[in-house]
Symmetry: C2
Subunit: 146 residues, 2 copies
């Protein structure tokens, strides 16, 4: 069992955030001894799931919903599965989008390297969109077109 301060350190989170999560109902049924929160294995796994669901784009209120489902038992397996499937699809789409962003950034890095070497953007600008080096062109097209 851990205190809030230990968990804060373990997860590199401010204590205030953990208290905020608790107040939002993200640790239903967490143990306390004379008012002091006691984080067990269940709460640590909850916290891992919270971070996961947050990064997958879920809001706090929907994470609470999930935690409530967990306390309701086996009857809510379908909802929980559906939630994870939805978030999984979300994240897969997000990965595609982020890869486009990365390609744009790669292109811009290349662009400014050229511009710096040339002392101006004229030459590199004139290469867009069809005289680019092969790899850069691939990035450019992934970032721009559909």
């Amino acid at each position: 069992m851990y205190t809030i301060g230990q968990v804060a350190e373990l997860f590199h989170l401010p204590v205030s955030t953990l208290r905020y999560y608790d107040k939002q109902g993200l640790f239903p049924g967490m143990a306390r001894t004379s008012g002091i929160r006691r984080f067990g294995e269940g709460e640590l796994e909850a916290l891992r799931v919270i971070e996961c669901l947050k990064k997958s784009g879920l809001e706090i209120r929907d994470i609470r919903q999930f935690m409530d489902w967990c306390t309701e038992g086996a009857a809510t397996y379908p909802q929980r599965l559906e939630l994870f499937q939805r978030q999984r699809a979300n994240v897969e789409e997000e990965l595609v989008r982020l890869n486009k962003v990365l390609d744009m950034l790669k292109f811009k890095c290349w662009y400014y390297e050229q511009a710096m070497a040339d002392g101006g953007e004229e030459r590199v600008k004139s290469m867009i969109p069809h005289q680019l080096p092969e790899e850069i062109q691939a990035s450019y097209q992934n970032a721009h077109g559909e």
Copy 2:
């Protein structure tokens, strides 16, 4: 040249957001005819870069900084390159994190599929962390340990 409404449609953004971006200085030197904003190719490319930099984790004020560098000419190539390199590193890290999130979600999907098939979590819980099917174990470990 496009009106704000046309650009809103092209980029699937509310008109109010475009005006907000403009007010934040994200389109320095945008043309106007009798008060009405005229978006040209420059502004469209700016908008693409804005979306890219936003998704890479940059705040509006730092995007404005970049736009200002662009109007300052060749002297700011180094800053602009450095910005894109930093954001690129950011996004690469973010992709790693998001892939961990995805692995957690995959694991949880599998977990609840098993739980639903079994009518309970006992069996599947008992398999954690070393009796999991190979692929699931890989996801589990990527999502959990370092």
